[in-house]
Amino acid sequence: MIDWESIMFPIITLMCWSILYRHSFLWEIVQHSIVGLSLALILKFMLDFIMGNMITPIFQGSIYPAIIGLTLGLITWLRLAKSTRDFSYISFAIMTGIGTAICAIGAVGPQILAQLNVASWVAGTPVTNFNNFIMWLSTVGTIAYFIFTYKRGGLAGSVFTGLNGLAYIGRVFMMLAFGTTLGALIAEMAIMGVTGYAYYYVKPPGIYILAIGLIILIFDISRRWETFFYTPEE
């Protein structure tokens, strides 16, 4: 029994990673393959959804609401022709309205009201109180940075000098927060993909496929050595 996974994973990975070296036919093949596979998958499951949830209920007598969904869906396809494009906006407007309403309903509770709870600065231990104060300060400072950063001078500048100071503090906290995000992104990058393929490269047959790939790479580098360098202008 051939272990296709151990063969195909390394081959496909090397073909994808060939773009890190240079643009080649290997990269084009995998790029177009994934497009073809993704299109097939989307088409299959979308058609299954339409058949199972719209067309079959209509034929079984449950016409409403499937018929309206089917009609609105078909109207979106009028977008494909220039002469009928304007009619497709009806469906897109309804979909956008649904999306906006769903987001707005959901935003009120979890995104606004729940975020406005402030933990006490006096009720707990000194460390807890300090931490809660820092959290409050970082929130208010960030809001002040985005809304109340005024140029110095002028009436607004002098009136909002205090808020400018708060915005400065917010900037400090934002630097820490964005650094945290980038640090987390580095940790995610470390595990994204590479570790998975390393799992196949360190054992046969992946290690043999990697060796063949390295030999081809070394051969191509030696063949094109001069093209890797340039002479900078004075």
């Binding site: 097939a40 949830n53 969904g69 494909l80 309205g97 309403a101 707005a104 995104q111 650094g179 994204m192």
Partner: protein, 202 residues
Amino acid sequence: MSILRRRELPMSLYIIVMVYLIFSNYTGIGTSLAGDIRSWGIAIATFAGLIGVINISYLHIMKLYQKREGWPYSIVMFICFIVYFFAAYYYKPGYDWIISNLSIPLGAAFLSGFNTLGVIFRGSKARSIWSGLILFSVTVTALLMVSLGPLISPGILDIARWIKDYPTTGVFRAVTIGIGIGILMLVVRAILGMEKSYLGEM
């Protein structure tokens, strides 16, 4: 037919559907129709997804027909598309083989994190105290997220944990509030007729 082309009709439908769903949610009136409207949204999203399939297929057919640069690769695309589509319906072992040995490795290989490398060694120069602060936060947070961190210094991890739990939470709380208020402003703009992005207008 000209009334169906006017933009007032989709704008009206946008506002009516949006206001009805919000009204139904907060009053409990007409929840059955609201549920049906949500299912229509799913139906429209399904057909809209298929527009992407049709568009890409059309692009590649024209590429083949006009023999533009890279046209042989379009044949690769169509072969993969046809084989996978028919295997999904008529040949389950082939479908399973393609999923395990082609689709999943292709999908995962494209997500390799090499693009972040360029950011790291080109974009991370500490030119000022602000970027130095970012770099400090980056370093301690990255060490917090891996098993190597505790071996280097538990003290650094305490600092990283504190930065994550308090200042970072506070900053992103402000961002979350801003996003929530932005969504509500979108509703207000829509009701006032100022929101027209779905019509292709700025």
